[in-house]
Amino acid sequence: MNRLLAGVLGAGLLLLLGSPAACKRVNPAGLTMELLPVPDDPLVAFRILIKIGSADDPSNREGLAQLTWSLLADGGSRTRTIDEITRAFYPLAGGLALSMDKEMAVFSGTIHKDNLERYYGILRDMLLDPGFREDDFNRLKTDQADFIDKSLVGTMDESLGKEILNLMMYDGHPYGHHEAGTAESTVGLTLDEAKAFYRENFVQGNIVIGLAGGYPADFPKRVESDFANALPAGFTPRMILPTPRKPRGLEFVLAEKPTRATAISMGFPIRLTKADKDYFALWIAGAHFGEHRQSLSWLYQKIREERGLNYGDYAYIDHFVQGRDKFPAPDHARQQQVFSIWIRPVNNENRHFVIRQALRELKKLVVEGIPEDRFEMVRTYLLNYIRLYPQTLEERLGWQMESHYYGLEDFLAQARAVLPRLSRADVNAAIRKYLDPDNVLVAVVTQNADALKAALAADAPSPVRYANPNMPREILEEDAIIQAYPLNVKAEAVRIAPAAEFFHKRGLPAR
């Protein structure tokens, strides 16, 4: 972590937002305040964002950022042990959650304003004067290693597929490891390394303090002053990321383990984020093709509803983390994004068919574009659905902070303004510009991987099995096309490794 530069960011900045009360300001040392006062609200929400995530892990120290931030959230302060903090928070139903991502982490909590002083005093010490006790470090390190080594690999097939897809996309890239690190790297981390990582990175210019709700008028100034007095100036320049490798044709990784059903994720890096003007056009395409856990999803209709082949099928035009209910959780922003398809587990005997079906639908989307009737309906959907996004204080604050990360004043307001102006041609142009159906990475968690590899390499027919003997003729006719749909996969583009070998070391297991 040598990118840390001492310095200041120049004069303070005041940026007024959509709401007259909401604002962002930056102090001369780079500490950012994101404020959303709601005077009548009896609650106060905190979102304290640190612009350092797993991409900032030093080489061979993968998992260090997560372990260090976990020590803050769950390791106690110098003045209070974690047990004492838990006992103090408990009657208030208070807590401090941590969410991790590649380029950021967020500490969040909400408290009734009656208890604000008590809560904030503890939270302040947790973040600004952490305990760094050996016992807590060992506990959290073991939990992190167990997650990687036992839970992810042994008990979470769908997550395993998604994480293997991430490995495939970002081999040799700062995004190319799990936030929790590898089994090998995590075990080797030391408390001294965590302390040093904190000192180096938990500095004013890396921190955004979000406050929302019914806090007293002078409260933000006090919080700002506490952080400014406790932390050094300085910031870590935004990472300059290498361009991810483009897939060469269809590339498969098959993680082999005993499975009742096969989990499938596929996708590729994409040159677009919320900051791009094309985002909204591609958003309509993404919602049409695979809106998260909605029957609107085209893939869901084709694979689940028409054929009953699994529990759901979705697609995303950027990294998606589910928040409350099915809404996206804000503050998982990244400089580089991905397009991905999530196929929920299918019966092992139908896996080849469903892989073909999803890839064929992607190809059809690019060649044929979004149907006219779907375009208008999906746009109407998005304009209504996004009204439900910011229902809680934390969500409102989170969207405010995410907007600013991407240099936007108010992402949701911009969506409301831009979506009605888009045409079907705009959407189809964005599809053709950003989605490439011929060069796709596919991660599969399954058993009998050799048989799948042989079938893929031979482009063997993949008939589908149904419980319903009376499937409609139009479905069966389409099935006949799908089961013979050529994928042109080369045998050397299909790698097999036992699931247990993933996440031991950085990158994919040796061939």
Binding site: D74, I82, L98, S151, E158, S295, T380, Y381, Q391, A467
Partner: protein
Amino acid sequence: MADARFRLGGERAERPKGIPMIRSAVGGLLAVLALAVPARPAGTDIVPFPVRIDKLENGLKIVSIPLAHPDIVAYYTIVRSGSRNEIEPGKSGFAHFFEHMMFKGTRQTPKAAYDEFLTRLGAGTNGFTSDDYTCYSIVFAGQENLETVVKTEADRFINLATATDTIKTEAPVIEGEYNAGAADPRRRLIELLRDTAYSVHPYKHTTLGFLKDIQDMPNQFEYSMLYKKRFYAPDNTILLVAGDFDPARLKALVQKYYGGWEQSNYALVTPVEPIQAEPRRAHYPWPTRTLPRLAIGFHGPAYSDASGDKAALDLMAEIAFSSFSPLYQRLVNKEQKCLSLGASFADTRDPSLLVFNAVIKSAADLPYVEKEILKELERIKVEPVPPKILADVKSHLRYSMAAALGTTDGLAGTLAFYVSLAGDPGTLNKLFDLYDRTTSQNIQDAARKYFRAANSTTVTLAEGSGQ
């Protein structure tokens, strides 16, 4: 109280998976209260909103909760039928299956039209099934859409079109749902616990049902007709609507569109679980890597807002097994034997299990952790709870419930759960009154009554052949 918002069932209700979210062990109030719900001091109602209850002649009850929060309306349909109603052999999982069928459309609004209706509305939709009820929610912006929602939902519940082929195509989706959780040892442990602890009551199976019954669902067209006739009727259904709307107008709309729905008058008789006479035990060897797991269940009482046992046990679970309890802090933080430790006392219409569970770091420590849990239960029987601890737990429950009631949807979903249990949201105020009145002696008495070895079922899960 525990598991108040525990949801099982359709895709729409599934918990997030694969999210790199780390929740601090300093658990607690993580949701936020857009509705500005105050944490009510002891002695005042936990539900501080005006609630209006109407009933149509056909028995359909309407619970209306107008809120000041603008723009959003949560429309919940609560069918008081869940796994508990699956009383015939071979029919486990049927309540959940029927929930899926409820999205297949009517003659007036076929499936594609219903999907388009929800899509254009931009609604947050959900359907889920639990032990005791099946719930359908539509959360939407703009009360100008209220009449369309009432009209479309009434048509769906009264005039659902079901065909044999539709069932044969949808039934494998349930197996797909089963498959989606097949790699998760938590579900296997719950299945094993229930199957071992119960002999005749339908709580013996999970909401998804036994796999063999799921695989037979494509052949169950006739039974699905019987199921609909028995349970999808106004006298077994409650509408709960919260948000920005006029209750009088809602009542008129419900009368107009649901007034012709015919009653069922079906009287369900669930089998009574015989008293367990000796301890039971089972183990599941997990074929791949995993952390070992332990669950100890005791047959306990049904939900009640009048009898003190359930309230006392809820408080006891928090006192002895939540993250601030001495046992948790010792086993998780100090000795570091466990990744997690907790208690789950579900609120259910029939007597159900009081469950203590632990995720353990090493299989060698399974016997030790089990022994420590049982020792703690013995300690509770004889040692009074310090007054400050009791007060802290009551405070925690009040603030937590205030958080659960914090958004329009959160409030509607939480109250829907309690309405499903007791038929009336007022039950929540009565429950919190009971908590306020519960004493240390009540807790000791309840512990002595239920935590007996003969009443216990212990299940474990570990890699390979295990114990």
